[in-house]
Subunit: 150 residues, 2 copies
């Protein structure tokens, strides 16, 4: 028996709710929900980096491999394929020798750059905050609040 992925019912209420309320309504907390699964696809390290890289324009396989430091050919091609399959990037092959393959964002892929840019900016701007928090957390030997797991 195959379980069909659940589709959220697009019941938009008026006046429009804030984003977080809408998200809560879309069943995102359920693994079977398509929204959840899509989010899982794009909230992935390599995916994000690839979209960032391709947002700068059409690039060749070797360009991507060079720009994304430390990615293995396996992960690179695997994620490129997934993104192509999902319609986020386009793959163009030129019948030359040696072969040449260009990757670029589709319109759908372009539409994802902005949300991901916002996320990346948040990270960029809060590096020191998180650093400080971690340092403090690690410094205190777990005391002070009544109980904390050993």
């Amino acid at each position: 028996m195959v379980l069909e992925p659940k589709r959220p019912e697009a019941e938009l209420s008026y006046p429009p709710q804030p984003a977080l309320a809408r998200i809560a309504n879309m069943g995102i907390f359920d693994t079977q929900c398509e929204g959840h699964q899509l989010l899982e696809k794009i909230a992935n390290k390599w995916t994000i980096l690839l979209v960032y890289a391709l947002a700068q324009g059409k690039k060749r396989y070797s360009d991507l491999k060079q720009q994304i430091v430390g990615i293995s050919p396996k992960m690179l091609i695997q994620n490129l394929r997934n993104l192509e399959r999902s319609g986020l990037i386009k793959r163009e092959v030129y019948p030359t020798v040696p072969p040449r393959v260009d990757y670029s964002l589709t319109q759908l892929g372009e539409s994802l750059t902005e949300p991901l840019a916002v996320l990346g900016e948040w990270a960029y701007q809060h590096i020191s905050d998180v650093d400080a928090a971690i340092e403090e957390y690690d410094s205190k030997p777990n005391a002070e609040d009544f109980w904390h797991p050993k």
Copy 2:
């Protein structure tokens, strides 16, 4: 020898560049860069769901476990700890019996809700697009472009 994580040099140019350009400058493509590592932390399935859930307000451990369908206690506590350590959420223990623990977003955590909401909304709005792309990709037996790996 321990490699110190790289800090991006905050060389902001004027006029301000679009977000994607700034991100490219922050060394995000380098695994050793702190920005990269932070992004990796927050671009995680469970992290995102936890922030969504806690954006609705303070919640108990059991509430979270119930809301986030299918999460195991191990993953739940593991991610809660990570987020607490990073300063994104606060953990409050009440010395009652049975014990009661509340989790809530810190101010830092609150600041992350908006970027994540944007991302979730993108997913919500493009489910059908991605679905269609996948269906088309799978339907065509790899023909038509001059060459495609077997």
